[in-house]
């Protein structure tokens, strides 16, 4: 009895340990002596200080410690507060945070000159080998290809419907949202603040123009929120049959608990946005833990680091060797489809400021 029950568990446990050990060893394969020196120096520096969204804290900290023996001090929080805090420290030349999981605005900090270059930090062969990345290249947001790497990309910008009220296949064009029967029936993440709502607002503005935006957001009396969970909850409860700028993580969490009325359609007249989410990393100039942050950046860009990110957010990594279960099809970029690409320097320096101003005037906050 003991042997028949315990032995298989022990074998499975040993197998998993070996698998993790092998994975931990693999990501450093072919590392130079210089890498080992960095690793040793990092161990003397103390925990690397990261800031980002709360979801990443536990899985990232555990996996990083498992693979490197180093600890993470993680400051979790909302995008707005963290952004302000990271930038204030970096700008004053006295950063307390080594690295921040940023959104697309990272390119503006790169232009401001408050970030460390990342290209020179990449040391591991498994990271720098371009064969491991989609398209055979590591993608950067900044034109100089030095400061802001985009390790993960997904499709955003589709609407969310309540299938009990809007039959799948009955509403397939964005312009159909202007029909009178949808007045007062649409909720959206606020497009005037940085985040998923702004990305969708700008995508629609760039696809259909500001007149369409006025008809949609003002004319249809769209209810604005700043909590992405509330948006999905409203559709799940049937309070609002349509939501704009909902996040896949919340949709999938609700679906998992048995809410079967949530439905993400494919819209025919505009394909969506290609975003990097908060996968981008900003390293402050003169970080407090210069070696530990090098170790983290290399680990994060390797298979185990990207696996954690991809698994937490259920979005695809740009690394070809990261396979995660449960990523919804509607967030996976399709070959040959032209998306509105917002994580570029041009978008942030030319288009975004204009759309941001136009949206602020339109919504009048």
């Amino acid at each position: 009895m003991f042997i028949s029950r315990i032995l298989p568990i022990a074998i499975l446990g040993a197998g998993l340990s070996l698998a993790f050990a092998a994975q931990a060893a693999d990501w450093q394969a072919g590392a130079s002596p210089e890498w080992k020196a960095v690793l040793e120096a990092a161990k003397k520096e103390g925990p690397v200080v990261l800031a980002g969204q709360p979801e990443l804290q536990d899985p990232l900290s555990k996996a990083f410690e498992r693979d490197t023996g180093l600890k993470i001090d993680y400051i979790a929080g909302g995008y707005n507060e963290l952004d302000a805090r990271f930038q204030q420290g970096a700008r004053a030349g006295k950063p307390t945070i080594d690295m921040y999981f940023a959104g697309g605005t990272a390119v503006m900090q790169a232009k401001e000159g408050i970030l460390e270059p990342l290209d020179s930090m990449l040391m591991l062969p498994g990271v720098t080998d371009t064969k491991n990345w989609i398209g055979g290249f590591i993608k950067y947001e900044d034109n100089a290809k030095k400061h802001v790497i985009i390790p993960s990309e997904y499709v955003h910008g589709w609407p969310l419907f309540d299938a009990n009220k809007i039959k799948p296949g009955s509403l397939t064009k964005w312009k159909d949202l202007l029909k009178p029967e949808f007045k007062g029936k649409i909720a959206a993440y606020d497009p005037t603040v940085p985040g998923p709502g702004q990305a969708v607002g700008m995508f629609l503005a760039s696809s259909f123009g500001m007149d369409f935006m006025k008809q949609l957001y003002v004319g249809q009396d769209v209810k604005l929120v700043r909590n992405p969970r509330q948006l999905v909850e409203w559709v799940a409860r049937g309070t609002y049959p349509i939501a704009l700028a909902a996040l896949a993580t919340h949709i999938e969490a609700f679906k998992k608990e048995g809410l079967t009325n949530l439905y993400v359609p494919q819209m025919e007249d505009a394909s969506g946005i290609l975003l990097g989410g908060s996968a981008l990393i900003e390293v402050a100039k003169n970080p407090p833990h210069p070696n530990a942050i090098k170790v983290f950046v290399n680990w994060y860009m390797s298979q185990p680091g990207q696996f954690v990110y991809s698994d937490v957010w259920k979005v695809p990594s740009r690394r070809l060797d990261v396979k995660v279960d449960g990523i919804p099809d509607y967030v996976v970029p399709k070959m040959g489809v032209k998306y509105n690409e917002q994580y570029t320097e041009e978008w942030y320096t030319t288009f975004r400021p204009k759309y941001s101003e136009d949206l602020a005037k339109l919504i009048d906050r």
Binding site: D58, E112, T192, R226
Partner: protein, 569 residues
């Protein structure tokens, strides 16, 4: 003692020196952040570029109808303060004077209510009162109502949540010590002379308690102007914006509009002084209105008429509906698979509790919260009591100005204060040494409670006649001995109240400390904020319940201690 000869002999030769020194210290601590806000309101340069003076920020923000709209809604919502002060006055009178049955339970529940974290409790109220899926509305519909009876996403809805969660509890906390320091002989004399309950209340109780009532009113009114978390959750989706949400929107707009945010914050300064100056003048006029003299306090006690039992039942029903009911919903919510989705096939789970308790941050955050609360509370009462004593018992030079400066920390919304302190720590070399330590957090929390702490103790000291301290002085006791052995015990109910207020602020605060908490130093409220921000309401509810449990323990300890000094008697 200001009116007596003894202390003046001690102070008169040094009054200017001490006055100037204190003015400098209070000025730096209280005025520096305000000065930063004022200077920043005229800077229209982006954060990474050199200072550029302009009036554009002021012109833009004050020519925007949204600003004035938000100010108007804020003032309308502040109408809860006079409503709450009437409720709180009656409650205190019933608790302390009438000594209604169940008074300890009622008072403890109100204290407990004040400790409860705002965001999860607001979620509890939404679950009860939402017009689409609120449990009370659903129950009403089942009983035959055609439409929702309650709508939480409205101005009355927001006002109700504030009154229930904070405004009435905090007023009871502020007023009850004053009632307890009030010799019932005054009222008894009126009653013996043939005055009825209401006449005694109108002609004796209210006039004698006026300084404390005014302190509670002014403090609550000013605080009501800067609240934004409840409004952000309930009001923003319905287009209800207040002053606090306006500041938040400007700070976190894209690009950030700091100048405009600081310009809006400056409006607060004007409102603050418009209230603080008359308040200060009134206090000076009523400085000698002591209700505790050399012969001590006598609290009435005796047989109770039957109506008190009915009143007690009503009050217990009130605290049950306003505090226990939403808290019960919060507990239920913490055990649901999806917060508030009771209709799922199998809605219950303990997974969220397991997640939170296994979260490495949890125990660190709990310890940080408790230590920070105790440190801020203790440091706070020492500083507040000394400042209050100086203002009431001495005639040092510049007292009036010091008294006004003490209000300044409330001139800045918590978020802006946090942003200001972060900038000062990062840019002023002498402050950089505090970076990464607990000191900025303690400083910010003590500073934020400075106005209410000093004013409450000051009102309390005003009630205590200087004769008692003079008697000690005549007997040969020195300043420290008199202060520790005579003054502090006499105002102990207020000190306990101020300690608990500061502790509760530490447990609850998010906006002031969110930007300055050092890496690895998170309080429970910040972890709860993290959960809420990422949409994990269930885990947020679990932490809300845990914070409530800690609060309950603190309330019980405070009451045990308070029994010795007068609270809950």
């Amino acid at each position: 003692m200001a009116a007596t000869a003894g202390p003046r002999r001690t102070w008169i030769s040094r009054r200017v020196v001490w006055g100037v020194l204190l003015l400098i210290v209070v000025g730096i601590v209280a005025f520096l952040p305000v000065l930063y806000v004022l200077v920043s309101s005229f800077n229209i340069a982006p954060p990474h570029l050199p200072y550029k003076f302009s009036l554009d920020g002021w012109i833009e923000v004050y020519s925007n109808r949204k600003t004035w709209g938000s100010v108007l809604v804020t003032v309308i919502l502040a109408a809860r303060v006079p409503i709450a002060i009437v409720i709180a006055f009656v409650l205190c009178w019933l608790l302390v004077r009438v000594e209604i049955p169940g008074r300890r339970f009622i008072e403890m529940t109100l204290w407990f209510g004040f400790f409860l974290p705002g965001i999860p409790m607001t979620m509890g109220w939404i679950l009860l009162l939402d017009s689409n899926y609120g449990l009370l509305n659903m129950a009403a519909k089942k009983l035959g109502a055609d439409d929702a009876i309650f709508s939480i996403s409205s101005v009355p809805g927001i006002m109700w949540v504030h009154i229930a969660l904070t405004t009435v509890p905090v007023m009871v906390i502020l007023l009850a010590p004053a009632f307890r320091q009030f010799d019932s002989a005054f009222e008894e004399a009126a009653e013996v002379s043939g005055s009825g309950i209401f006449r005694t209340m109108r002609r004796v109780t209210i006039p004698l308690l006026a300084p404390a009532l005014l302190t509670a009113f002014v403090a609550s009114f000013i605080r009501s102007l800067e609240t934004f978390e409840i409004e952000q959750i309930i009001g923003a989706p319905s287009g209800i914006y207040v002053y606090g949400t306006r500041v938040y929107d400007l700070v976190f707009s894209d690009p950030p509009r700091f100048a405009q945010a600081m310009a809006v914050s400056s409006l607060f300064l004007i409102i603050l002084f418009a209230l603080a100056i008359p308040y200060h003048m009134y206090l000076l006029r009523t400085a000698n209105q002591a209700t505790i003299a050399g012969r001590g306090v006598r609290l009435q006690s005796g047989s109770k008429p039957k109506w008190v039992y009915a009143v007690s039942a009503l009050v217990i029903l009130y605290v049950t509906c306003t505090i226990i009911l939403p808290f019960a919903v919060l507990i239920l919510g913490s055990f649901t698979r999806l917060f508030g989705f009771f209709f799922l096939e199998n809605p219950w789970t303990v997974n969220h509790w397991a997640t939170v308790l296994k979260d490495e941050r949890f125990f660190n955050a709990a310890l940080t919260s408790v230590w920070l609360g105790i440190a801020a509370g203790l440091i706070g009462i020492v500083i507040f009591a000394l400042l209050a004593w100086v203002l009431v018992r001495t005639d040092i030079w510049g007292r009036g100005l010091i008294s006004l400066l003490i209000w300044l920390p409330w001139a800045i919304p918590g978020l802006v204060l946090g942003l200001t302190l972060l900038s000062l720590i990062l840019t002023v070399p002498m402050f950089h040494i505090f970076s990464g330590s607990m000191i900025p957090l303690i400083f910010a929390l003590v500073l934020k409670e400075l106005p209410v702490g000093v004013q409450l103790i000051r009102a309390s000291l005003n009630q205590v006649s200087g004769q008692l301290e003079e008697a000690a002085e005549v007997s040969g006791a020195g300043f420290m001995r008199i202060f520790v052995r005579v003054t502090l015990p006499l105002i102990a109910p207020s000190l306990v109240a101020v300690f608990l207020l500061t502790f509760a602020a530490t447990i609850r605060d998010i906006s002031t400390i969110v930007l300055i908490a050092a890496p690895g130093m998170r309080t429970l409220s910040l972890v709860m904020f993290d959960y809420a921000a990422s949409g994990r309401f269930e885990a947020g509810a679990v932490l809300g319940v845990i914070v409530a449990a800690i609060s309950l323990v603190m309330t019980v300890i405070a009451f045990r201690f308070g029994m010795k000094v007068g609270i809950g008697r």
